[in-house]
């Protein structure tokens, strides 16, 4: 259908994009795997779990989307594949309970596409990181915000970046005893990162009261916020029972003699975010110089005509920036359809300011190379395939620089069910370091590891029921007679 825009992802970026495009006159289908709109930032406890924390801004947004005559929201719907077709792309969708074999299949042939698929936490490996009770900071956040459950009773939060603060707040709210928050970067290093970009610091001024609020909250609860510290190892047999923490040098090597053991029943770790690139990569969109984000121009257009991107997918900068980018992307997608759209000047300004702030954040909270010294021979690098650091080293040495696929095949790193989402970036950095030592070229780029033809899990049996042609609304669907599983 000529005026159909598909927006994938209903977080702050996708919601804003859907509204902007629909306001400009386009028909919008907003697709998200979750049962409700909101994404990671506006995650809501379902009505059955009382104690709603929806901000007024979110309630208004959700109502506006729900009431918009040109927005159709497909909840509990994953885009599991994207393929090129003449003049655009075809999306393959499944609607229904997660991982159920009885989901409804559809294809969608939009005239323009906005990708707003967000990001997931980056977790760095360390000895014992695969023990139950060690989770990502985002997992603790999702469980607290979405399920009103604390991931443990005695919890340590560690990693880098300001995302640790809202997670600390949520953990306190759901009654966890937070034994500490460890920021791996040092204050000095962080301040230097900020000072390198004074203009960006100014742009981020609005965030300072928020930051002060978090620090005040931690102080009131007598929770130590220690910079230059990290979790080096988790201990336990069937679950985490204690951790070793240590002080770090500026580049994250362990300061000798600084190790301490702390009893905990949960550890939450987060080292920034990894954008969910697979649909963008499938659409042929170029990545930026870091190879971890989609490259967009000022109009949020990717290198692929008719495909726009917004939010964490294009760089990690928080919910406000994601929403501003979404507004620009939605307007641009509508213009791509030939609709008359005024230039979204305010949103463009917000994007510019927000990007500066995001760059300053990235400079202040980088992942520093010393993390590689935390690993031991038997630390798992790939959780899915249970490949240890020792095995990875061996594979790299044996097959030096023959390319990413070869490395994956010889060591099985990245070949598990998560398709390398958890291990890909870490393994690439580890392999690169090993090869640099051996004076050879890096074998595995993040872009290569994001090439995943199946963007979301699908069962083999389901593939048999894939529709081939969309109907009038740009849709096609199978109509299984029995969708109940009970």
């Amino acid at each position: 259908m000529a005026r159909l825009i598909a927006v994938v992802g209903a977080g702050p970026a996708g919601m804003a994009a859907a509204l902007a495009a629909a306001d400009a006159g386009a028909e919008v289908v907003l697709v998200d795997a979750a049962p409700r709109v909101g994404g990671q930032y506006h995650r809501q406890p379902p009505p059955g779990l009382a104690d709603q924390h929806a901000g007024p801004g979110f309630a208004r947004l959700e109502a506006e989307l729900a009431g918009h005559p040109r927005v159709r929201h497909l909840a509990e719907t994953v885009v599991w594949a994207l393929e090129p077709r003449p003049g655009g792309h075809r999306l393959h969708l499944r609607t229904g309970p997660a991982d159920s074999p009885h989901r409804t299949a559809r294809v969608l042939d939009p005239a323009a596409l906005v990708l707003a698929t967000g990001a997931h936490d980056r977790a760095l490996p360390f000895p014992g990181w695969d023990l139950p009770g060690v989770v990502t900071a985002g997992a603790a956040q999702a469980l607290a915000k979405g399920q009103r459950v604390a991931v443990g009773r005695r919890v340590l939060l560690a990693g880098t970046g300001p995302f640790l603060f809202p997670v600390a707040q949520s953990l306190i709210e759901v009654g966890a005893h937070l034994v500490g928050v460890l920021e791996a970067n040092r204050v000095g290093a962080t301040a230097a990162g900020w000072l390198a970009r004074p203009a960006a610091l100014l742009a981020g001024r609005a965030k300072l009261p928020e930051l002060a609020g978090y620090l005040g909250l931690l102080a009131r609860h007598r929770i130590a916020y220690r910079t230059g510290h990290a979790v080096l190892a988790a201990h336990g047999t069937d679950r985490v029972e204690a951790v070793t923490t240590a002080r770090l040098t500026r580049d994250w090597r362990v300061v000798p003699g600084s190790a301490r053991r702390i009893a905990v029943d949960a550890v939450c770790v987060g080292f920034g975010f990894t954008p969910q690139l697979e649909l963008a990569v499938a659409a042929g969109c170029d990545l930026d110089a870091t190879g971890t984000c989609v490259r967009v121009d000022i109009a949020q257009a990717t290198s692929t005509p008719g495909v726009f991107a917004a939010g964490e997918l294009t760089g990690v900068g928080g919910a406000d920036l994601a929403a501003a980018e979404g507004r620009v992307a939605g307007a641009s997608a509508a213009r791509h359809l030939g609709l008359a759209v005024p230039v979204p000047r305010a949103a463009l300004r917000q994007v510019r300011a927000g990007r500066g702030f995001a760059a300053a954040l990235a400079g202040a909270y980088p992942v520093r190379p010393g993390w590689r010294s935390w690993l031991t021979e038997d630390t798992l690098v790939c959780r899915c395939e249970e490949v240890s650091y020792g095995a990875l080293c061996q594979a790299v040495r044996q097959r030096a620089a023959l390319g990413g696929r070869v490395l994956r095949l010889t060591s099985r790193v990245g070949l598990g069910p998560c398709q390398g989402r958890i291990c890909g970036r870490n393994a690439a950095e580890l392999a690169e370091a090993l090869l640099c030592r051996a004076d050879q070229r890096p074998p595995l780029t993040p872009a290569a590891s994001a090439r995943r033809p199946i963007a979301a899990p699908i069962r083999l049996g389901e593939l048999a029921t894939t529709p081939t042609e969309p109907s009038e609304h740009g849709f096609a669907s199978t109509d299984p007679t029995d969708r109940s599983e009970a």
């Binding site: 409700r36 309970p97 014992g128 985002g138 997992a139 459950v149 969708r483 009970a486």
Partner: protein
């Protein structure tokens, strides 16, 4: 906006508190809360792990919490490999966690050494 009602036959997120789902976990009857995920149910019942890995028999539970890592797999109504953090509990669900074979851990590529000893 017209939310699709393709998955009828189970309480949607808008049905409120009434009709809390009755499910079984490994055969034991449990009352869940509407809108709870299987992982939310298991964690609030005090479980931290509910399956073990094929190679090393390592215990696994929640890790990424948002459907990315595949650590949290359970069996629901006879269907294996359902991500517990993504799946909403529905009335009548038969949820099975994997038994935990204590590893002799031979075939595991990394042995069982990742656990850094006792606590």
């Amino acid at each position: 906006m017209t939310p699709e009602a393709d998955h009828r036959g189970r309480p949607g997120p808008s049905t409120g508190d009434a009709g809390a789902p009755q499910v079984t976990v490994d055969g034991v009857a449990v009352t869940a809360r509407t809108g709870q995920t299987v992982a939310g149910l298991l964690v609030s019942a005090g479980r931290t792990s509910w399956r073990s890995t094929r190679g090393g028999g390592r215990p696994r539970g929640l890790f990424c919490g948002i459907g990315v890592c595949f650590d949290c797999l359970v069996e629901v109504n006879g269907v294996p490999d359902v991500r517990a953090c993504q799946r909403l509990v529905a009335d009548g669900d038969d949820i099975r966690t994997a038994p935990r074979p204590r590893p002799a851990a031979p075939g595991g590529p990394a042995g069982d050494g990742t656990r850094t000893g006792e606590a």
